[in-house]
């Protein structure tokens, strides 16, 4: 227990890096994922095809391989990014297809009459999507979307294997230097991950109750 308290500053530094990976990666994934979802249901066949290829490729590649690409293979192509930036890019690119799939399932869950009503009012594809479909889809999407973000929070730990000093790597380092108290140290790391994942779960079930009733 002392080992945890003595090293609290290190934990907090690692937790800060984990949080910034989570927020930067999450927001980028959200933006990219929304674009991919819109492409996937768009009238333009070329966009649809590109979105499908991207989604399928990234969903079937392990995150570790995505990281290896940005940390070790890409520097052969382009100037090397800092490790933290590579980690954010890898997390965002990996998470975006999952965001897109969650959104798409939400769009498919909106009753077809809503789309018909929007179209019969003369709205085009863009208007129907942004004014009628997405606002409703976002609500239905909350539970699967929160799951995507919980997965993202846990996936930030992979960055620790690729030279980013986030929570997992700090914990690993501390466990190495304090061989006699490995168990409390790792439980300390676990605690900080739960600080992110458990509130997300609670928020999700609250929002679900409040918003799903609203329609």
């Amino acid at each position: 227990m002392n080992a945890v308290i003595d090293n609290l500053p290190l934990y907090l530094q690692g937790f800060g890096v984990t949080l910034s990976l989570f927020f930067i990666g999450g927001i980028s994934a959200m933006i990219l994922g929304t674009i991919v979802a819109a492409m996937r249901i768009s009238p333009v066949a070329g966009f649809r095809g590109a979105a499908v290829v991207y989604t399928e490729a990234l969903r079937n590649t392990p995150l570790t391989l995505v990281f290896i690409f940005f940390v070790s293979v890409l520097p052969q192509l382009a100037p090397r990014l800092p490790y933290f930036a590579s980690a954010c890019v890898a997390l965002a690119l990996y998470t975006a297809p999952f965001v897109a799939e969650a959104l798409r399932s939400g769009v498919n869950g909106v009753p077809i009459g809503q789309a018909e009503a929007a179209r019969s009012l003369g709205m085009g594809f863009g208007q129907a999507l942004t004014l009628v479909i997405f606002p409703q889809a976002f609500r239905m999407v909350i539970p699967p979307m929160v799951n995507v973000f919980v997965a993202l929070a846990k996936n930030t730990s992979v960055a620790g294997g690729f030279f980013v000093a986030e929570l997992f790597q700090r914990g690993k380092g501390l466990a190495n230097t304090n061989g006699d108290s490995v168990i409390p140290i790792l439980f300390g790391v676990a605690f900080f991950y739960l600080v992110i994942t458990i509130p997300l779960g609670i928020v999700s079930s609250r929002l679900e109750k409040r918003w799903v009733v609203a329609r």
Partner: protein, 277 residues
């Protein structure tokens, strides 16, 4: 396709000549953009590079792919694939067992069983698999294979437990009542009536989770288990030299995509074949 999902055909009119032309133009633009990026990537890859004073030939130069004519290289890659599949297979079986155990405990009628089981399950669901693996690796002396396998089994077991619980909750109440009224015990009702149905109903979701498990064996790369990525990107790279990095990466990626896409296709077929109830 009338009455299908929203995204199928309601959001836009079936395109007329003008819209078709516009759509074609956009498609061509998208194609050109993708082609330019691919072309640029190929050009950059093919160009020779100066790396710390040594001139490396371009990535498509035969001298950077020649190891793949050696059958011993393919034997090494095959061993890596086997190591990945072995870990995934053992972990899947264990995860299913852990999942059944978790869902049994979580739906127990005794609060002193149910509540601790819920807490433990939520704990594991909120953990990164990597941390569970590291914990097993450092605290036990099982070695890296079992650290990967047990980490995956516990984590995915917790998730499969929740899936099974949802499956049981979705069954009509009459199923359990009928079982109990026939004089079966609670455990008998669960194992002969509820679980077989829940399992069937949730099979596509469970298989999807097992695909995730297969992908997560790649975390062995970080904890030091020689699965396919560690075999190619660390061990074979060190043995054959840095100039094979790109070719080894491409081979690894192709193998992973091949395995995962075929397992996912199998999962989709399974989902379609599910009998309508």
């Amino acid at each position: 396709m009338g009455g299908g999902p929203v995204s199928s055909n309601v959001l836009f009119d079936s395109p007329g000549p003008k819209a078709r032309r516009r759509s074609l133009i956009f498609s061509i633009i998208a194609l050109v953009v993708v082609a330019v990026i691919v072309f640029w990537a190929i050009l950059t890859l093919a160009a020779p590079r100066l790396s710390s004073g040594i001139k490396l030939p371009g990535s498509f130069d035969p001298s950077r792919w020649d190891i793949f004519s050696d059958p011993r290289v393919w034997r090494d890659i095959g061993l890596g694939v086997l190591a990945t599949l072995e870990a995934a297979a053992v972990a899947s079986v264990l995860a299913l067992a852990v999942g059944v155990a978790f869902s049994l405990l979580r739906t127990s009628v005794f609060p002193w069983v149910r509540i601790p089981a819920t807490v433990v399950l939520e704990f594991f669901r909120g953990m990164p698999v990597l941390l569970i693996m590291l914990f097993i690796l450092l605290v036990s002396s099982f070695g890296t294979f079992w650290a990967v396998v047990l980490g995956l089994a516990v984590y995915n077991g917790a998730i499969i437990g929740e899936i099974l619980r949802a499956g049981i909750a979705s069954l009509p109440r009459g199923q359990q009542e009928a079982g109990l009224s026939l004089g079966l015990t609670r455990l008998q009702t669960k194992s002969f009536i509820e679980y077989p149905q829940a399992f069937r109903q949730m099979l596509p979701v469970i298989v999807a989770q097992l695909v995730v498990l297969l992908k997560d064996t790649s975390l062995g790369y970080i904890v030091g288990y020689s699965e396919i990525i560690r075999t190619t990107m660390t061990e074979m790279l060190a043995f054959h030299g840095d100039r094979y990095k790109f070719s080894l990466y491409i081979i690894t990626l192709v193998i992973y995509l091949g395995v995962n896409l075929s397992v996912s296709a199998f999962a989709r077929r399974l989902a379609r074949r599910r009998p309508a109830r």
